[in-house]
């Protein structure tokens, strides 16, 4: 890594270098201008990451810090049913920060954004005693296709879009490389990749719209489907409990239906695997509540680990159940997340 520090080139010098990561036609004015498609709603989300709190050099390279930051925000857009347009970045850096570190963070962000035809649309660079990265992502969504936490209805099937527990497993392998000796090199890499380069599930939206378009044609067009869901960034359990709480409903999740990476079974106990799947977090999958007939078609079309894991009920809580009767029923409670103070 080059030894050039931020203080050597100053705020303006750094900003100039970082502008090479933005499309040339967007930058250089008081604000960025972007086109939206007609009839779509604007969707906006924001996240702040602080050095030592939300990322650390121990487990995460600068380009992975960038990728993960971008992915987390795009995942929030996916969770609303929105297609991303761009992000802005508010960066606070110390004079001691290596310029190449910052450029690698932006490189990682750009690599992630390019997968989803999205751009860095602008930003601000300031001096700060601690490195801080604030990202605001904005996208567009069809007003009648917005996915809300509060839309779940009794009878809905609960769908998850991919494996859970992989990110948590990858983190464990990064922190304790001596673990997981039973894992193949490919499995090890894949779990670490899940942690370092999570993929926001924007890819499923066109499939979902396609199914809903077809459903609205064959059904009474007045029976409008209101979509419920969120992403599983804080864990699968948290997502289901949040949706149920916001919708005033309950839920039942069948333990054996939760898609867990096969490789985990060669490494940890089934109890541990379920724990990581439910509470590990940062898998950035989507948890959707849909009419059962829509859910079935979606899971079939997505294949590859998408699954119906349970259903929305009129209960007042969310329960983890076991059809085989090996485990007692368990009430899932709202994970408060880390209390950072």
């Amino acid at each position: 890594m080059s030894s050039l520090k931020v203080r050597d080139i100053g705020e303006q010098g750094l900003l100039k270098r970082l502008q090479s990561f933005c499309p040339a036609d967007i930058i250089g004015d008081d604000a960025a201008v972007m086109q939206m498609s007609p009839g779509q709603s604007l969707v906006v989300t924001t996240d702040v990451l602080v050095d030592g709190v939300h990322f650390s050099d121990r487990t995460t390279s600068p380009s992975d810090v960038g990728w993960r930051a971008a992915a987390a925000n795009l995942s929030d857009l996916a969770a609303m049913g929105a297609t991303p347009l761009g992000i802005t970045i508010g960066l606070g850096v110390t004079g001691d920060t290596a310029v190449s570190w910052v450029e690698q963070v932006y490189q990682g962000m750009t690599e992630c954004l390019q997968q989803y035809n999205t751009v860095i649309a602008g930003g601000d660079v300031v001096r700060s005693p601690v490195i801080t990265i604030s990202i605001t992502a904005f996208g567009e969504a069809f007003p009648h296709r917005i996915i809300r936490r509060s839309n779940a209805k009794v009878g809905d099937a609960i769908v998850v879009t991919g494996f859970h527990g992989a990110s948590r497993a990858g983190l464990e392998l990064l922190l304790h490389p001596e673990l997981g000796k039973n894992l193949s090199e490919a499995d090890r890499k894949s779990l670490i990749q899940a942690h370092q380069r999570p993929k926001p599930r924007l890819d499923i939206l066109p499939t979902l719209w396609d199914i809903l378009d077809y459903q609205s044609k064959i059904q009474n067009p007045k029976s409008k489907i209101e979509l419920a869901g969120m992403d599983s960034s804080d864990g699968l359990a948290d997502a289901v409990v949040q949706i149920c709480k916001m919708s005033g409903v309950g839920g039942r999740i069948e333990r054996s239906h939760i898609p867990i990476p096969q490789s985990l079974h060669n490494w940890i106990s089934p109890e541990q695997a379920i724990k990581w799947a439910l509470y590990g977090g940062e898998d950035f999958e989507l948890v959707l509540c849909l009419p059962p007939e829509v859910a079935k078609i979606l899971v079939k079309r997505l294949g590859n680990s998408a699954a119906i894991v349970g259903r929305i009920t009129s209960d007042s809580d969310v329960r983890l159940v076991d059809a085989a009767g090996c485990y007692p029923e368990e009430v899932l409670s709202l994970i408060q997340g880390f209390q950072h103070f």
Copy 2:
């Protein structure tokens, strides 16, 4: 001020209190959803403020910190010709931060936003070793009415929308209350107000559109007027030089035409007053380059200190000239701004 600290209620507790500053129908999901008017472009700008670098308790109360932060971002939207829709706030706070301090910052932001029918649309609250406020403001603009720094043309008149130097004078009075003994209490208050509660000039946009609509009716509709301008947050001189640089043109500014608050003449020398007007910054007025006939009508309709201060030339620099011949010509150079590192 209550002694309750952020660590007493935690990140989640603070977020819950701050949500009372957002419209209830916007919050509580993975992202905020907002409606845009048909056919308008999305305009986005972002700013980061760090405690001790961009604000300090010495000259600025928490509610003024909030007002100024919101105003600076709305001013960037005004400078693009955009009408604000909302802002998101990424807040980093220490455990020691007083909850009431944060609430007063949000109160100040809200007071400013309400003047312009704008809302806090969402945000994030995290732990940080230093208080950091990242604001992203987004708005909408007619694609053909976007005001760009690069659109100035030789022959354009340079218009400023209000007084310059008032914010710098107000700061001086706050830092050195023993100064300005000649000022009336009302003048003193008005200068301090200019520093603590600057007003983004969103109010002039409807007047400007109205004039342009009329012009395009009486003229050949094909002679499209491309608007040039930016705000004077970094000083009047900086704004003119930036516009000329981005447009590949030069400019001449007539010293006696720069609107300076009358009260400054009772306090400081004309040379000092011009210096504050040109380089003081943070007046958050607009500097526009317009065809002379449009500029004349705009200044007449705005009244109250709006003025044509000069014109765009084919020179390679921006000169401050004096028609009376008392001062020699002066070349204005690009103020690099404070080098923060």
